[in-house]
Symmetry: C2
Subunit: 363 residues, 2 copies
């Protein structure tokens, strides 16, 4: 491993880990960070109340392995959109400061999604030419996950934003999962062209136009057209774009339905006379299913389009979840996803003006 660690270390950017965010913080966070350093040779900074964090690092005998950046304040798990402004000294805010100063390239936090999105959007700002940052989640399709975005950052989106989400998602699929030429679909109702609500119909036009644009310098986009809710887990496309309201409803509907299927089957199995054998199979089959939906396995959601990589781990993340989130952040930051997005969305100076204004209009 040390060889690999060395190799990785040489190219690995520094990741600021929010030690105070999450249901099991700071304990699980620090343990996960230590695993990420020892097993994958990542370079981390733990951000949080230094005495607490130092004590936990000492427990792991890792005092010298991970530096600490002090932050006295923390975001509550129910922290909403105002957190960005209200909590300049929160561990998430201090981590963003490290990124702005160039001391770190990425943030990993298991804090409240709303709070982390607000804090990092306000403190890292969107990249030049990016209208809005979007929250991307990896759905457990095979062989490669399908990236769904926006999963909730922008409840009211504009058609142009969905085109940008397509580029953000494609950059994620390339950098995070090595998909050479990501296939992009748009979530709507009815797979035929012209189906959907006003936003979807207009966005589809723009996506087709963008895909058709082969002029020099135009970023390549492989748009496959409309997909429906039941296609989200079919793996037909690598990236699915939609507005943050629809995306969040779809994601949570899927999670709820899988849990429902789970319980229904469990009932049926344990109520059968074959209950005993059932329990065995159950463990095997249901573990398989749950692991595919376990956020620990995927490392969490990624907020794309900011001047820095932001990975938001599940609030209930275990040490392993934090370890995975750090790995994902390292892959994305190491793959220079921010530069990739800049290349894809590079807007000539004049448009840049209104894009930039628009992108900060209602902040």
């Amino acid at each position: 491993m040390s060889g690999g660690s060395q190799a990785r270390r040489s190219e690995t950017p520094v990741i600021a880990v929010d030690a105070m965010g999450g249901d099991h913080a700071p304990g699980a966070i620090v343990r996960g960070a230590v695993r990420a350093v020892r097993e994958h040779g990542l370079r981390l900074i733990l951000v949080g109340r230094s005495r607490e964090v130092a004590a936990l690092l000492a427990e792991e005998g890792a005092t010298r392995e991970i530096p600490i950046a002090h932050a006295e304040d923390t975001l509550a798990m129910n922290e909403g959109a105002l957190a960005g402004w209200r909590r300049p000294r929160s561990s998430a805010a201090v981590a963003c400061k490290l990124i702005r100063q160039g001391d770190a390239a990425a943030l990993v936090s298991a804090g409240s999604t709303g709070g982390v999105v607000a804090t990092s959007t306000v403190r890292l700002r969107t990249q030049p030419g990016v209208l809005r940052a979007a929250l991307a989640v990896a759905l457990p399709t095979r062989p490669m996950p399908t990236i769904l975005l926006d999963a909730g950052a922008n409840a009211d989106a504009k058609p142009e934003m969905l085109v940008q989400f397509a580029h953000l998602g494609a950059a994620y699929a390339q950098t995070g999962y090595g998909v050479a030429d990501p296939r992009v679909g748009m979530l709507t109702i009815g797979s035929e062209p012209g189906k959907g609500n006003k936003l979807a119909r207009k966005a589809a036009e723009l996506l087709h136009a963008t895909a058709a644009d082969t002029s020099a310098g135009a970023p390549r986009l492989d748009f496959r057209g409309n997909i429906e809710g039941h296609d989200l887990l079919s793996g037909e496309v690598d990236v699915v774009v939609t507005d943050g309201f629809t995306g969040n409803v779809a994601l949570k509907s899927i999670e709820g339905a899988v849990g429902f299927a789970f319980d229904t089957i469990q009932e049926a199995l344990t109520s059968s006379r074959l209950a005993k054998a059932g329990t065995l199979l159950q463990r095997r089959a249901l573990r398989e299913l749950s692991e595919r939906f376990d956020s620990d396995t995927y490392g969490g959601a990624v907020l794309l389009g900011l001047n820095g990589t932001v990975v938001i781990a599940h609030g209930a993340s275990s040490a392993r979840g934090i370890e995975r989130a750090c790995l994902l952040a390292a892959d994305l930051a190491g793959g220079r996803i921010v530069d990739q997005v800049r290349r894809r969305l590079h807007a000539p100076s004049r448009p840049h003006g209104w894009l930039h204004r628009l992108s900060h209009a209602d902040e």
Copy 2:
């Protein structure tokens, strides 16, 4: 049974069954209709090409049991929104004519949802004071199903429409499932008040205001506030309102996720050394799961708010599915759901003016 049949017959309205709609039409439709008459004492009229239908009735030895209304034309399964205007002689259109003439109270069709929605909306019109008809589906929660609407009839909805959907859904839960005082929730992102997109935030305000209105004659509405995607199958509410775009995406996401869970578990089971026992349990457990999602079990979607009851069975409906759809239509028409909706949405004369204009504005 004959006693029950007699009892039912005396109170049962006539249902016009579209013999030509559906993947297995007219065979499965006619067989289902015969079962509905013989086993439940329903009163039906089969609408379609009379020679074909008569021949099938003869095969079942049911020539005298169900009258036939001739319709030379049929809607194609891919028939869209224009069908309403384009196909005045389609079996669905002729069935609507029977309702307008008072010869039938309900329509059952397994034809394309788009075509049946368009045809019946154009030919039956919305009830006075109803802005838009909404498509309602019953999610397989326990002990009672949860009614989700709109499931796709109105891709772009207005906040006032969601308030009406709440009343339509409540009338359905009462008439179709005997829920005395249906609990209504609104589908959005984030359960806290003020979460969601513009439409959801405004609609929630109106729903709270409606629920708070205790003035004489105001229809009672038990609004429980926001629910999220993962609550759709939790049975926390009896009715979930949303716009047709979000509702359709949520419904199909659920269907896709259940299928996905299904396959994942099947894989895991059959790949295990206990495969054999697995197959046994599987059949048991997965049958249980599939039955709960089998549209045949629920009789199909209901288009609410028109001058007549419209039940749209799944396109792949078997004879049993058609039988169930006829039962559902009989329960709804017998329970006078149209009158219930009228009572709930009865609007005083002046408002009625603009409501009515609005409701027919872009038809």
